[in-house]
Amino acid sequence: MMNNTDAMSLTLGESKVRSRRWLVWVAAIAVPLLLPLVFRSGYALSMMCQMGIAVIFALSYNMLLGQSGLLSFGHAVYYGLGGYASIHALNAIGAGKLDFPVTLLPLIGGVTGLFFGIVFGYASTKRAGTVFAMISLGIGELMAAGSTVLPGFGGEAGISANRVTGKGLFGITYGPPVQVYYLIALWLVVSAILMYALTQTPLGRMANAVRDNPERAQFVGYNPQRVRFITLVLSAFFAGVAGGLTAINYEIVTQEYLTAHTSVTPLLMTFIGGAGYFFGPVLGAILVTFLQVVLGAYTKAWPLYMGVVFISTVLFAPQGLAGIVMQHRQVWSAGLMRRLVPAYAKVFVPACALLLGTICLVESTYHLTTEAQAGTQMSLFRIPLDVATPAPWIGAAALIAIGLYFFRRSCAAAALSWEGITAELQRRKSP
C-alpha cells in the first residue's frame, strides 16, 4: 500500500525525472502565490486559506500515517494546543506584554506542538500499530475532555483575539484577508519544503524502514521507538504551525479544535489523497476542503457523502487519489490511455446514475427528518420534488438499482481492459 514514488522512474530516465520533479516544485511554489490574482472574491480567498492550513495539517499527519505507518486518532491535540498557544500569544502582543511579530506567530504554535509532542509522544510511541492508535485516541479524548474544565481554554466560548496588532512590518498589518492568505501561503511553502526535505534525510528513510519492518531497522542499529518518537515530535511541530495559522485566520480558538472530529479530518484527507505519496495529502486536503465548503453550502448531509467517499477509497482504491494518478501516469506516458477511455466512459454513465440515485435518496430522507417543518416540497438540482409522494423514492431506488447493476458489469469490463494494459506494459519492459 505504501510504495514510494519510484513507480515513475521505471518509465522515465532518472535525470529526466529529476528535472521534472524540479518543475513540479516550481509550480507548487508559484501556484499558491499566483492564485489570489485569479480568484479575487472573499469567498475564494477564505476557502484558499482553509485549504492552505489543511494542506499543512494533512502533510504533518502523513509524516505519521504514510511515512512511519503510525495511525493517529489524536493529531488534533497538537493542532489545537498550537492554536491555543498562538491565540494567547496574540492576546499578549495586543496587551503589550509580548513583543513578537505576528508573521512568526505560527512558530509559537509549532513549538507548543513540539513540546506536547515530546510529552505525549514519550507515552504513545512505545509501540506502533493498533496500540499506538488507541493511545493517540486516548490522549486526544483526554485533551478534549480536559479543555472543557481546565483554565486557559476559555470554556464554551473559546478564546478570541485581534490579529491586527503589534508592529506592522512594511505596512503588513494582516487586516485585509489577502495578507493573511499570503502569510498562510508562505508558511505552507516553507513547511512543505521542510517536510519533503525530511523524507530525504536518514531520519525520513529510517521512518520508512521502521514502518515496513521494525525488526530489521533494529538490526541495522536504529531504535524504532526513538525513530517513531522523533517523527511524531516533528509532525506535532507542523500540526502546531497549522493550528497557529488557524488562530490567525479566524482570530478565535475553541474546544472544537481539540475534538476527535478534528483528529479524523486529516486522516480522511490523507487517506483519500493517498498516504503512500508525498503529494497525496495535498490532493486530499484540497479536495476535502473544497467539498466541505462547497457541498456544505448546499446540503447538511455532506459528512455522509464524505464518509461514503472515504469508505469507497478504503474498499476500492486504498492507494488514494495519488495512487490512481500515478497508475495512470504510467499508462499515459506509454501512450495507452486511448484504450482505457471507452471502458471508463462505460463506467461513467452508470456511476452517475448511482450517484444521482443516492443523492436523491439521502436528500429526500434528510428533508423528511430534519426539515419537516419546511413542508414536503424540496428541490434537487432545480427539479421540484415532493417527498410525501412516492415518486422521488421510487425514482431514487430505480436509479440505484439500475445504476448498481450496470456499474458492476462495466467495472468488471474496465478491470479487464486495465489488466490488458498492465500486461502490455510488462511486455514492453521486458521484451
Partner: protein, 314 residues
Amino acid sequence: MEFFLTSLLNGLSYGLLLFMLSSGLTLIFSMMGVLNFAHASFYMLGAYFAYQISSAIGFWPALVIAPLVLGLAGALLERYGLRTVHKSGHVAELLFTVGVALLVEEIVPLIWGRMAVKYAIPRELDFTLFSLFSTSFPAYRGFMLLVSVGMMVLLYVVLTRSRIGLIIQAALTHPEMVGALGHNVPRVFMLVFGVGTALAGLAGVIGGNAFVTEPSMAAAVGSIVFVIAVVGGLGSLEGAFIASLVLGIIQTFSVALDYSLSDLFAGSEVALLHDEALRSLFSIRISQMAPMIPYLVMVLMLIFRPQGLMGKRE
C-alpha cells in the same frame, strides 16, 4: 453509606454494561487483530432499533430481535466488508471500521433526527425495586444487572464448555491448526464478529433507555470502551471484565463527588492559592473532572504497565 451503596450499585450496572460492549470488542480483537471502531455504532444502532421495534410491538420482542438483527448485520459486514480489505493489511481494516462508524453516525440522524428519541423504560419495569435509606433503586437497573450477568455467564459457559467455544478458543491461538483439523476458520471469525456486534446491540437495547438514545451516544461510549480494552490488556477478557467494573464504578462515583483540591486546603492559608491560574485549577471539582478520569487512568496505565492489567508482555 447511603451514597456509597447506591453509587456502588449504579457503578456495577454501568460497569457490566460496559463489559458487554468490551467483551465483544476484545473477542474480535484477539481473534482477528482488528480493533472494531464501529463497535459502539452497533451499540447505538441497538438502542435505535429497540426504540423502533418497541414502539411498534413492545420492548420484550425488541430485546430479542434487535440484537439478532445486529448480529446478522455484523456477520455480513465481516463477510463482505472486512474480508475484502483484509488483504490490504490491518490499517486498512481499522480504517474500514472507522468509515463504518462515520457512516452510522451520519445515517442515524438522517433517519431518526438529531434530537434524542423517546425510548422509554418498559412499564413492567418502571417501579422501585427497593429503597436504601431514602434513595430508591429502580427495578430497571436491577434488570440491567440481571441481563448483563446472565449474558456474561452464558458467554463464559459457551466459551469454556461447549464444542464451538473450544473451537473459538483454539482458533484464537492456533488458526492454522484449527483449519487443518477441518474447521472453517473464516466462518468462525464471522460468527465471533456477529456475536460481538449482537452483544453490543444488546447493550444498546438495555442501555439506550437507561441513559439517552441520541446520535452522539456512540462517540460518548466508544472511546470509553477502547480505554477499557487498553487498561484491561488488549485481547484479555478477564482484564476487560475487571477494567469495565473498575471504570464503571470510578465514573459513577466521580460524577457524584462534589469536592475540589481547594476544599482540601480550605481553612489553611496556602500561599499557592493566591495565584489566579492555580486557584482556578485547584477549584475544579472532581465531578467536573469525571470525563477526563478514564483517559487519565489509561495514560497512567500505559506509562507504568504498558501491557494492561491482564495483557501479556510482548
